[in-house]
Structure formats: structure tokens, C-alpha cells
């Protein structure tokens, strides 16, 4: 293992993050606060409780997931797309590193950033609502697995994208809608039966449900199924990354 290289990539990516610190932290904190004001206060005042939890608190896990998923995806996709775009990818390819080390550097950094943002949002949330975490261990595990798998997913998009439009397409057109429709702001049980069935095809439902269970002990789907879903997504992403590196897809002619 070339740990120096992993460290160099990781450090470089984190430096990029801290160079734009205001943008990195401020924008998720601001948007989360807005969600609390709009959803928690305005709408929450008309919804008493969802499954025994105040509406303001109920949306916290979904809000964290929303940010973590989009941040992990966009950070990782941009991280690997940018060297391709400006041509510095030559350095990665000509260095004595293997693809696993490259992935570890980029995905590790993107996951770290997403995790930091997730924690900042959680801290922001405590300013608005009382928050208790029933299963802290499970909460951390779900958070880490989500950061990691979506960073891998972002990495795949970054490799695949040929231009900036494609780079933004998937997060914008796929991830955000899936999260919004994945029960971030409501319980699946609040939907009519027909829509409930449709919803179960949305993989994000399982992640948010499991994550919410870690907070409040209530969930839309069994926790084991949630864990299975996130593990499955992780394995799927890992397999795709493995294929990319076996074939040199879109990075090595």
C-alpha cells in the first residue's frame, strides 16, 4: 500500500474543502435553518406529532441525510472529475499508485466532508428542536455507511461525466428527488396505500427510515432491511468502481 499517496490525495482534497470553508459549511447550515423555519415552524405548527415525535424533530434525520447524500455525491464526483477536466489526472495515472489507493484518497475525503457537514447540521438542528438519539451506535453506523456509499457513487459519476452538465445531472435529477420522495419530511404511513407501494422501490426510503430509527426508535421499514439496503448499495458501487478500474473506463485509453 502506498499510504503516502493516499494521504497526499486526501490532504489535497481536504485543503480544497477548507479553502472554500464558508461555502462548504455556511450553505448547508443556512439551507438547513431555512428548512427548519419553513417546514418545522410554519408547517410543523399544523402537524402535532408524527409517530410520537414532534414534527420539527421528525424531519432532522431526513434533513441530515439529504445534505449528506448530496454532499458526498457532489464532492466525490467533482473531486475526480476536476483532474480529468484540467488534465492533472496524468499525475495519478503515472504515479506508482493502484486504483484502490486513488479511490481511498478521493472517496475518503468526500466521505469525511459529508460527515462533517452532517454533524454540523445536527448541531444546528439542536438550536431549533430538542434532539435525543436512542441508538447512537446505529446512528453513527448509518451515517458512515451513507457517507461512504454515496461518495463512491459520486466517484463513479465523476469518472463517467464528460462535461459539467453531466456531472450535475445525476445529483440534481436523481439524488435530490429520491431523497425528497424518500420520506425525508414525512412518514411513509402518511401516504395513500398505492403510493406507499411505489415508495418501497425508492432505495433512499430504507436509508432515511433506518437513520430515523436510530434517533427515535420508529421506522417505516424494518431496520434490518435498511441495513441490507445500504450494504447492498455499497457493494453495488464498489463493484462498479472495480469494473471501471479493470477496464480503465473513460480514464485510460
Amino acid at each position: 500500500m502506498n499510504w503516502q499517496a493516499v494521504g497526499a490525495i486526501y490532504r489535497y482534497e481536504m485543503m480544497r474543502f477548507f479553502r472554500t470553508i464558508a461555502q462548504s459549511f455556511l450553505s448547508p447550515v443556512l439551507s438547513t435553518s431555512l428548512y427548519f423555519v419553513v417546514f418545522g415552524t410554519a408547517i410543523g405548527s399544523r402537524i402535532n406529532e408524527v409517530e410520537g415525535v414532534s414534527y420539527g424533530a421528525f424531519i432532522v434525520p431526513g434533513l441530515i441525510m439529504l445534505s449528506v447524500m448530496t454532499q458526498a455525491t457532489t464532492n466525490a464526483s467533482f473531486g475526480i472529475y476536476f483532474p480529468k477536466f484540467i488534465g492533472t489526472v496524468y499525475e495519478l495515472l503515472s504515479a506508482p499508485v493502484n486504483f484502490f489507493e486513488i479511490v481511498l484518497g478521493y472517496v475518503g475525503a468526500a466521505a469525511t466532508k459529508a460527515l462533517l457537514i452532517g454533524l454540523v447540521i445536527m448541531a444546528t438542528a439542536t438550536l431549533f428542536v430538542d434532539l435525543t438519539v436512542l441508538h447512537p451506535g446505529a446512528m453513527v453506523a448509518f451515517l458512515l455507511l451513507t457517507c461512504l456509499s454515496f461518495a463512491l457513487f459520486g466517484f463513479i459519476i465523476g469518472i463517467w461525466a464528460r462535461n459539467f452538465e453531466q456531472l450535475q445531472l445525476i445529483p440534481l435529477l436523481v439524488v435530490t428527488p429520491l431523497v425528497f420522495l424518500g420520506g425525508a419530511f414525512y412518514s411513509i404511513s402518511m401516504l395513500p396505500p398505492g403510493w406507499q407501494t411505489v415508495t418501497y422501490f425508492n432505495p433512499v426510503v430504507y436509508l432515511i427510515s433506518g437513520f430515523r430509527w436510530a434517533f427515535f426508535g420508529t421506522s417505516d421499514v424494518p431496520v434490518a432491511l435498511s441495513l441490507l439496503a445500504i450494504a447492498g448499495f455499497l457493494i453495488l458501487c464498489l463493484s462498479v468502481v472495480w469494473v471501471i478500474f479493470r477496464t480503465g473506463y473513460r480514464i485510460k485509453p
Binding site: 497526499a8 499508485v97 485510460k252
Partner: protein, 309 residues
């Protein structure tokens, strides 16, 4: 001495069927400076890209320092430094960080003294805290070189290092190449500036249409292929080459004040003695005579033309 870089039947066919490199056998000796000459699209960059890991070979093998570039890529690449043709740098990074990053990629611990040394040699020390996007084009190219030298490579690939570079930087670059050579670094540079190959290379390879047309010691090449020109300046101009001298293929220039005679140094006889005798027989008085050896450029143009390009 075993070659530090060797290719056997190394070939590249791109997805669209373009045969960028026909099966190539090439041995590069340790410590030499090899210049690869060839027009754009000849296959020079493809060759380098395969050796460095940017492009996967379609067939054949290559070894660097005895390590196969595929099965022993780590050991092979650890020996290599690459200065690419295009300027590719992260614009917001600082010079120091950029060079340190490359060293890290090569698996080496930080060594500030070495990086300082490299930056000073490349006149980049004062710019070490500048961001890349604040630098001029020439400075950026220096940064690329500094990055390539950050891990003390044994083999340095310079892909068109002086394309679009000012005279100062070109001179500096040549000095740097001479320094590295003293340290025993093997240098492979591609160029289409013949004067560059002529000035610094030990051996010259000519590539065209994905084929190595020729690979020879520069001196031997110039002697073997070199044609010399004898230039005769006349005391009084003539209107035309006298008929008795028509067999020599003389060219008249400078309003009839000088005659040029081309001859082959490898020929049986150069014909100079006979020419001079015939000149005096014709009553032409000479002011001066001198000879000139044809440059690599002329040799190169002849070769590539002969190849049908």
C-alpha cells in the same frame, strides 16, 4: 550494460482502429539523452504515454529498470518522472503544495530540502507561495518540471518540453538536462525542434507514422547521412555556371558571386580536387572557400519525406 528502458513489440491501436504505434523494439541506455523526433501525430507521445502508464498497450512488452510496466508498474513508475506536453496544473494550488503533492503520490515522505533545491534550480523559489494561476506560462512549465523531479526519477520523459517556450527557459532547460545527465539520469525527450536534439541529445530516433525509422548516435547519424556543401566565393561574379563545369551540379548564388557544391563525405571521392582544378582551368579566381555540414533538420526532412509523409 542492460537497457534502462526496453520495449519489445510494444504497440498501440486505439479504439477507432488508428494504429498509433506499430510494434516497436527500442533499447534506451542508462544515462543517455535520447531525442525522439517526428512530426505531430507520429506516435511519440503515445510511446511515452504507454511507458508512463497513461495509455494501455495493445500488445508487446516494456520494462523500465528491469520492471515490467504492467506487472511491475509500481517499481517501474517509481523510477519515472514525466513532464507532459500540455500544461496541466491545478490553478488554485500553491507552487510548493503542488510539488509536494507529486512527491507524496510517489510514496515518498516529505523532504523540504530536496524540494527547495529543485525549486531553486528552476528559479521558482521566490514563487513557492504563489498560486499556479498567478504564474506566467513559462513559470507553469517550470512547475511541471519541478513536479517531475520531486521524487528524484532515474528516467525523465520530457514531452515537447520547449514548445512555445521563450529563449531563457529553453536555455535553462538545456542546462538542467545537462545537470541531470551528470547525475546519471536518463532523459528521453520528444521534440520537433531539430536544433534541440542537435544541441543536447546523444542519440536520435526518428518516428513517423508510428514507426521507428531510425535510431542512431547523433554524431554517427550526422556523419553517415550528412552531406557537406563546399561554398566557393568568386573574386568576380559570373553570369552563369561555365559549361565545362556543368557535371558538378553547381548552384549559383549571390548574383553570381558564389558557387555551392554538394558532396557526400562517405563517397569514394569527393570530387573536390577535380572541381578546383577545373575552376582554375576556367580562369575563375577564388576569394574564399568554406564547407558546411548539413544539419539534423535537413536529414530529418529527407527521412520523413522518403517515408511518404
Amino acid at each position: 550494460m542492460p537497457a534502462i528502458v526496453e520495449t519489445r513489440g510494444l504497440t498501440k491501436v486505439y479504439g477507432d482502429g488508428t494504429e498509433a504505434l506499430k510494434p516497436m523494439d527500442l533499447d534506451i541506455e542508462e544515462g543517455e539523452i535520447l531525442a525522439l523526433l517526428g512530426p505531430n501525430g507520429a506516435g511519440k507521445t503515445t510511446l511515452i504515454s504507454m511507458l508512463c502508464g497513461l495509455v494501455s498497450p495493445s500488445g508487446g512488452h516494456a520494462r523500465v529498470g528491469g520492471h515490467d510496466i504492467i506487472t511491475g508498474y509500481r517499481a517501474a513508475r517509481a523510477l519515472i518522472g514525466l513532464v507532459p506536453q500540455e500544461i496541466a496544473l491545478e490553478p488554485f494550488q500553491k507552487v510548493w503544495d503542488a510539488v509536494r503533492f507529486t512527491r507524496g503520490l510517489f510514496g515518498l515522505r516529505r523532504d523540504d530540502a530536496h524540494i527547495e533545491d529543485v525549486l531553486r534550480k528552476l528559479s521558482l523559489w521566490d514563487k513557492r507561495r504563489a498560486r499556479i494561476n498567478e504564474l506566467s506560462g513559462g513559470m507553469k512549465r517550470r512547475v511541471l518540471i519541478a513536479k517531475a523531479l520531486s521524487h528524484r526519477p532515474r528516467v525523465l520523459f520530457l514531452d515537447e518540453p520547449t514548445a512555445g517556450v521563450d529563449v531563457d527557459l529553453r536555455r535553462d532547460m538545456w542546462d538542467m538536462v545537462a545537470d541531470l545527465r551528470r547525475d546519471g539520469v536518463t532523459i528521453i525527450l520528444t521534440t520537433h525542434y531539430i536544433e534541440e536534439a542537435e544541441a543536447i541529445a546523444d542519440r536520435v530516433g526518428v518516428i513517423n507514422n508510428g514507426e521507428l525509422l531510425l535510431l542512431e548516435q547523433k554524431q554517427a547519424l550526422m556523419t553517415r547521412l550528412g552531406r557537406k556543401t563546399l561554398r566557393i566565393e568568386l573574386r568576380r561574379p559570373v553570369e552563369a555556371v561555365p559549361g565545362a563545369l556543368s557535371g558538378y551540379g553547381l548552384e549559383l548564388a549571390d548574383d553570381g558571386r558564389s558557387l555551392s557544391y554538394h558532396y557526400d563525405t562517405q563517397g569514394e571521392g569527393t570530387g573536390i580536387t577535380a572541381l578546383l582544378q577545373d575552376l582554375s582551368r576556367e580562369g575563375l579566381a577564388l576569394r574564399d572557400i568554406h564547407t558546411r555540414q548539413s544539419s539534423l533538420e535537413e536529414i530529418f526532412v529527407d527521412l520523413v519525406k522518403g517515408d511518404g509523409a
